[in-house]
Symmetry: D4
Subunit: 176 residues, 8 copies
């Protein structure tokens, strides 16, 4: 099984397809930047052998960065990081009761020895996981680096345009 | 009263019938595994005599594992554990204001001497309480043990099937 | 390696020998009750293959209950529970910064499908993990069950003795 | 046993004599106000029968207010309140790992039907439990009411004296 | 103004009429028990002079217990307690962002010297505030005491009836 | 760009126009008090150069107080405060997962050297940011000071009117 | 009493002289900038009349900014802000059990209508309270404004000097 | 200034030299792996121009990964990430009052657009920041990749050795 998906540079893994909605912005960004990626459903608890097999084979299949989303006692990013030497990016998924504080702490508080680069909770974190993967990949890819710079410039321009519009519309100067 | 319900191996107790919705997955699992169970409404605060009577008589009635769900200052699992020598499994129920952090700490932080095996908050915890009861009962029941193994295998297969489907549908390889 | 330690009914596992101090009361209780146990250092992150191998072989080696202590992003109890059908008892170990809230949530918030019976943080939880294992083992061991009842009775007597002593010494009645 | 201690108007209960240090200021205040009190060691978990017996008999023994201190999954105040119609005052005791957040929530978050008047964590709460008992007892005791007013006046004077001293010593006026 | 409302034994105070919905169960219980009460809108921050005037005059107007509901940086119960020697019961009101953790801590963590008997967050706490007031008033009112005992007995009966109904309907015994 | 908006005494800044809804009460208050203000969209992360430029030029453009609203890892108020010597008022915006606890701590916990006057979370904080700006501006503006006093008096009157209405409607005196 | 201390521009208030240690850096900064200040011990709970009298008279005595430090259910800054139209700066003092989370929320979560500019917990917050007062006072004091700019420049230089020293001492370049 | 330190692949930045103790394990690991690094003291708040200048020039100076440690309202990693396209790794430093929960949330909860790969709190996070940087650098450096694999193997061996020693010493088998 782990022989397929040749060509993916980024692997986006999650424990359940209910998390697809969370990561969709990450997938969109990767696609916009033309980074080939695979999307995988793997559970550290319900399919543990597959999780380990996946992590151990990822590098030899050409994957460079692994993004893993998980909620609750979120062990997936850590279990993957323990079985690969690739950089792993963790996305804590919001949970119903504890609002994702459980997910966040289960991912970010990794013990010394096995790091996971943790992003913000939920959709903002998912989006940033793709942008972080791009920053890593761009280190050895000048073309990609230019695109990242353009993307930042575009964000900046959007804020500036909005500033002009809002400033004009909402400011108030009639002082007496 | 405590003479009835002969035959139940698992007793599922909660303080109010409003918690029935939380534990229904637990009941379904126990039924699927053909484990006889009783469902009881007992309150550590509003019917304290009944709670203690229930706990003291459970073992002699043939009960082997007690599952207790409670929310807020959730004393039910602890009060039961104090009055029986059976293993007690606690399910913290989510609360409106504090989202169940109160329920969780009131159950899990039992002082040395009286243990409660605490599950996750809400429905995931309820489901797991049944699976944990099965793991305990399976220790001396080979047939049940095989069923537990099959259940785990089924979960694993479901994840793998989902993986294949999602991987095919969402991965993206057109790199240039 | 996993062939050794024949005879242990309880396996007490932790990620680092710095946790030995936390679990020592658990070991003492098990020894007092003459329950053979093994103590193991296994890390879900630093020795993941050993963790899975251990979990998969535990039942065939005769182990009935696994106690796992872990801190921070505490994945050990969950990773073990994912790879065995034995009941797993988790002890969250206090951490320096977050005081064990990270450990607690990483252990107790297991997703539906793979339960861990979670104890209180730190030494109280460690002691209770042994008492919980005893409650499970006593289900099919009348002699052990009598011992558990005696233990509870002893605790009760200690409280009553202390009550008498303190009440005599600290109460104050000179009202006018 | 519950026949003794005739004459106590306030009963100060705790689960372990290690909490004596926390409540000692409460005892001192009660003694200063000449309120007869008893001090009891009773555990909701380790001596549950005694806890219930105590709660059920307290009123007939002449007790008017019960102060209960407890830590962790702190069930003592709630269990007592469930078994008496007297007002119960709860003192959450600080815990090592969670700093008493567990104690506080286990006491204050009582479900509708069984109230516990909860004080601050630790020594401030203990001191206030005595002052709160005095406020209740003073409702029908004019002499005691005058003493409570004097106590408040004394506190006020102490603050004012300190204000004068500190203001003189630390203020700084040399402006240019 | 503070001369009116003669006859109220309990004063139920809140900072805004938006909290009326929270306390309505408390009012209903007091009415059921025929306890005369007044309802007041007073703010520690927006009408501070009225808050202090109210607190200082409450006792001479015949009030015996003050119930104060407040949310956020909830100073009302504490400010009232500082200006009266009557027992004050605090109800922390749930807030939108922090879910009432701010309200709870602002009320319960009173410094040594000025106690507030704090109830659970929201409606459960409101209901319990009335029941707690009843427990205090019943200390010198045998008739009221009997009513409180009957109320507890009624709650107990409701749980027992529900137990019978649920047990019959949801238990499962077909074991093979 | 930073030359425009001459005349604004208060600058209300936020990272995204989605926060406009949060600050609208602040704008309304400023307008009611006839304080000229500008509204700006500036992001510490997406338009960092603009943020710094804005902060450095604000004073010379005549701005006296800067109000900055931000959510999540909310760096905007701190970054602005680091680049101006004007007083900066921070409004933590509620977030979906962590309910604004992240926003609050990111703004209020500024290290020694660079202060931000932090308001409550969300709309209450926004409203108060305007009132706080007025208190600062009123220090040297007697007319404005009178208006602030009137505003406080109006709030007080509203509470008193509500008190009269609610007290009449909800109090209950038929004691027997 | 409130007639004394003529000349103070900043009033530094706290509930107990045990907080003097927390605010001493604030006093030192004010003294360094030659801002006349008074130091006062006033308690919202133990000397409530004094607190209100103080707040109501502060402006007419020439005070321009009030700094108030408080811990636990920290009502002092809010109670003062309710009784003055001056800007109030709050310093949440760390508490033993809850580490100041109670103090922080009791101060920052003020309801709409009465703002308190809240600083960080403890000594950093205290230091910043003085710097924030300076920023406010500097709005109409060019000389003071220059001093604030110089202070910021000095901080910056200290960081730069430290950077040079540390960079030289700890960097490592021997790459092959 | 930003011309110096040619040759550093990793830049380790912190706001104050008091954090040097936290990051020293990171420096040791980088040195062991012969990765040239620079150590910098830069503050987002006290030396903001330097922070931005540093971030903007880092890539052209040859830096590939930036590690930034910060505590409290920890803006440094985010401010740097906003001004570079290099991957930034954040280390939340434990704080006295809030134990680093403030630091963690201020770093990890970055809004969509500007990612920071966040590590665990304190020394474990610092150590992991170096290991994460190595994983990134090893993507294009086979020799380094082998070293990372060896490091993981060494950790594993240490756990296994400890397991053997502890298992022998602490297990207990005398069952009858």
């Amino acid at each position: 099984m782990e022989k397929r998906n040749k060509g993916a540079l980024v692997s986006v893994v999650m424990g359940s397809d209910s998390d697809l909605e969370i990561v969709e912005d990450a997938l969109e960004i990767l696609k916009d930047f033309k980074i080939p990626y695979e999307v995988r459903i793997i559970s550290a608890h319900r399919s543990p052998d597959e999780a380990i097999e996946f992590a151990k084979r990822a590098k030899e299949r050409g994957v460079k960065v692994i993004i893993a989303a998980a909620g609750g006692a979120a062990h997936l990013p850590g279990v993957i990081a323990a079985n690969t030497e690739l950089p792993v990016i963790g996305i804590p998924v919001e949970t119903e009761a504890l609002k994702g504080m459980d997910s966040l702490l289960s991912i970010v508080q990794m013990p010394a020895g096995v790091p996971v680069g943790t992003m913000a909770l939920g959709k903002a974190g998912a989006k940033n996981s793709a942008l972080y993967a791009l920053r890593i990949l761009a280190l050895e890819d000048k073309e990609l680096n230019s695109q990242v710079i353009k993307y930042k410039e575009k964000m900046r321009k959007m804020v500036k345009d909005k500033d002009r519009e809002v400033s004009r519309k909402y400011s108030f100067y009639s002082h007496e």
